[in-house]
């Protein structure tokens, strides 16, 4: 343990997250940061002394929920305290976000959110919280690939072929989304504008419904969550033209990103991440990063009371 001169807070040198390398597992990284969450409280060496509350602003069983639970389960075992997941779905994640924003900034409440986190400030006029001020981004838990799917019956050879067809009949193409203001809506608009074609938005209730629109030939394309589209890609009922993010999907190594397929500035990423509450974390992080008291690589460091053995 080292004592931070600025704050007088005892912290573990093992939380120097700037040292995280690509080889570290997600859970490992998350654990380090949770240690940091606790370290921001007055008695860092005693953290956590009670259950940690994790708010998920989406339904139990959603991708965000299941990813969060997978990481938190392991984290809970490591920390020796329960992490109690509370699902607070509704209003584009803003109900759960508001619940988390009202919680104490004592290191015992975290928020597991999708990247809708960065969308709601743009789509909701009157939020009861300030997304930047009330939450501290802690760490991403995973990238969620989004795939541009079309019906194979259209016979598009590739993404350029699809865009050429869209340009040839301006405004006649339509696209489904999992709802107005959903990330699939943003991904579609970013791509459409970067590629330079017109298309009509037909919002659905959710991702499975939006996928049905393409399967039933009522919509020409949909930027679908990979996990929802994958079974239909495997059995050939849908065709994947591109992945929206800045990296390819591990499950679809042959499908290019929209940028690789020739459309610059068309990427749109979707992810799941962990957030903390703002105030205490901010002072902790800024002081600990400004003054690294001791150089200690994450894994060999045995000084942390929460030393985490990475699982491989």
């Amino acid at each position: 343990m080292t004592r931070n001169r600025a704050t007088g807070v005892r912290t573990s040198a093992a939380i120097r997250v700037g040292k995280i390398t690509a080889s570290e597992t997600l859970g490992f990284a998350a654990a380090l940061v949770l240690t940091a969450l606790g370290a921001s409280t007055a008695a860092a060496q005693d953290w956590p002394t009670k259950a940690i509350r994790a708010i998920v602003p989406l339904t139990a069983g959603s991708a965000t929920d299941m990813i969060g639970r997978t990481v938190l389960d392991q984290l809970s075992q490591q920390l020796g305290q329960p992490i109690v997941v509370e699902n607070r779905p509704g209003a584009g994640n803003t109900i759960g976000m508001a619940t988390a924003a009202r919680s104490d900034a004592d290191g015992y409440t975290i928020l597991i959110n999708s990247s809708s986190h960065t969308i709601v400030p743009a789509t909701y006029g009157n939020l009861p919280f300030d997304t930047l001020r009330d939450f501290t981004p802690v760490i991403p838990l995973g990238n969620m690939p989004t795939v541009l799917v079309v019906s194979p019956s259209k016979g598009y050879k590739n993404l350029a072929d699809f865009v050429a067809a869209a340009k040839a009949k301006p405004g006649l193409m339509n696209y489904s989304t999992a709802g107005a203001g959903n990330f699939s809506h943003f991904a579609s608009e970013v791509f459409r504008r970067a590629a330079g074609f017109q298309a009509v938005h037909v919002p659905s209730k959710g991702a499975p419904e939006a996928l049905m629109e393409v399967l039933a030939d009522r919509a020409d394309f949909f930027f679908a969550p990979l996990i929802v589209a994958l079974p239909f890609l495997k059995d050939g009922r849908l065709q994947a033209l591109a992945v929206s993010g800045s990296q390819r999907a591990a499950a679809l190594p042959d499908v290019p990103t929209t940028v690789e397929a020739g459309f610059p500035n068309s990427e749109y990423n979707f992810w799941v991440g962990m957030f903390g509450r703002r105030r205490r974390l901010l002072s902790f992080w800024t002081s600990s990063m400004r003054k690294p008291a001791r150089r200690c690589k994450i894994r060999p460091c045995r000084r942390s009371s929460h030393a985490w053995a990475p699982t491989r």
Binding site: V17, G18, I20, A22, T25, L26, G27, F28, A29, A36, A63, M66, I67, T70, V71, Q74, A91, G92, S115, H117, T118, I119, V120, P121, A122, T123, L132, T136, P137, V138, I139, P140, L141, G142, N143, M144, P145, G179, A180, G181, H185, F186, E189, V190, R193, P203, P225, L226, I227, L230, Q247, A249, A250, A251, W271, V272, G273, W285, M289, T311
Partner: protein, 43 residues
């Protein structure tokens, strides 16, 4: 852990906390611009 997450559709995303914080800030301002340009509002 990675395998479990992969089954849930998540690919690894390795960012430091400060890089993640920057990403969140950038995305919020980008999404503001997209929403304004495309007239996107929540349901």
């Amino acid at each position: 852990m990675q395998e479990k997450l992969a089954r849930l559709g998540a690919d690894p995303m390795t960012l430091t906390t400060s890089a993640f914080e920057k990403l969140v800030q950038t995305e919020i301002s980008t999404n503001m611009k997209i929403a304004a340009a495309a007239g996107v509002k929540a349901n």
